[in-house]
């Protein structure tokens, strides 16, 4: 049940990518889809009644959640930021050339 709610968050992002025409809205939608995927991986990793995967000198063995998806998501989050920066750079360049954010208007070829 909670997985399908997470998938609804993904579909909100998909809706934005399909329907919106403004480039900024499309960048936001791609970010929302990324959030949904990260959240889904961490939901898969959660174990009922477990602690975070960091040992302390007091207790060197305890029940812990799955650290492997967390490690994958940690790199994925940072990559998402650099992807957003690349998209923003492309959007600024498009605006400087065409003076609009509408993806329908930039389809015509221009020098």
């Amino acid at each position: 049940m909670i997985y399908s709610m997470c998938f609804m968050l993904f579909l909100v992002g998909l809706y934005g990518v399909l329907i919106k025409r403004n480039i900024i809205k499309i960048i936001l939608s791609v970010g929302i889809m990324g959030y949904a995927i990260n959240l889904f991986l961490i939901l898969i990793a959660y174990q009922e009644g477990s602690d975070f995967p960091i040992l302390t000198p007091a207790e060197t063995s305890k029940a812990m959640v799955d650290p492997l998806p967390q490690a994958l998501v940690l790199t994925s989050i940072v990559i998402e930021l650099s992807t957003t920066a690349l998209l923003v750079a492309l959007a600024i360049k498009i605006y400087q050339r065409y003076h609009t954010f509408d993806i329908r208007k930039i389809r015509r070829l221009r020098g």
């Binding site: 975070f52 960091i54 940072v78 930021l81 650099s82 920066a85 750079a89 600024i92 400087q96």
Partner: protein, 139 residues
């Protein structure tokens, strides 16, 4: 920015940067590590840039220096791996001694790799910010 923002920035940006360094150095003992430490350090640079503008008095690294630092991070990362190769082990093996757990100098090459990742991520994100802001102003 106005006077209040500048004064508050002058007194708080050191704390932000110190927190970033703490996250890097104790990344193998506490929550933290190279990624978030580098991002917090980059955030402290961006904080100064937002408050004071890109004035030379701020003494922040420019584009060339931050790009060199970023590439240096990548070279340190690969260099640690190549040292492992030279010792006859697979690439990027944890070849140093493990040390006593729960102390600062332990876990072999993990703190060194954390430093390399810090340079890589922090300077990379700061460089991206500088490039975006500069082209925005030039327009």
């Amino acid at each position: 920015m106005n006077f209040i923002v500048k004064t508050v920035t002058r007194y708080t940006v050191w704390l932000i940067m110190l927190y970033g360094m703490y996250l890097v150095l104790f990344g193998h003992l506490n929550p933290g590590g190279g990624f978030v430490g580098g991002l917090v350090i980059a955030l402290s640079f961006i904080h100064v840039t937002l408050a004071f503008g890109r004035s030379p008095q701020a003494g922040l690294p420019g584009e060339a220096i931050s790009h060199n630092l970023e590439v240096a991070g990548a070279y340190i990362y690969v260099g640690i791996g190549v040292i492992g190769c030279a010792l006859g082990l697979p690439f990027l093996t944890n070849f140093l001694g493990k040390g006593t757990p729960f102390t600062l100098l332990s876990a072999g090459t993990i703190p060194l790799l954390n430093l390399a990742i810090t340079l890589k991520v922090g300077m990379g994100i700061y460089l991206l910010y500088l490039l975006l802001v500069e082209t925005g102003h030039s327009h």
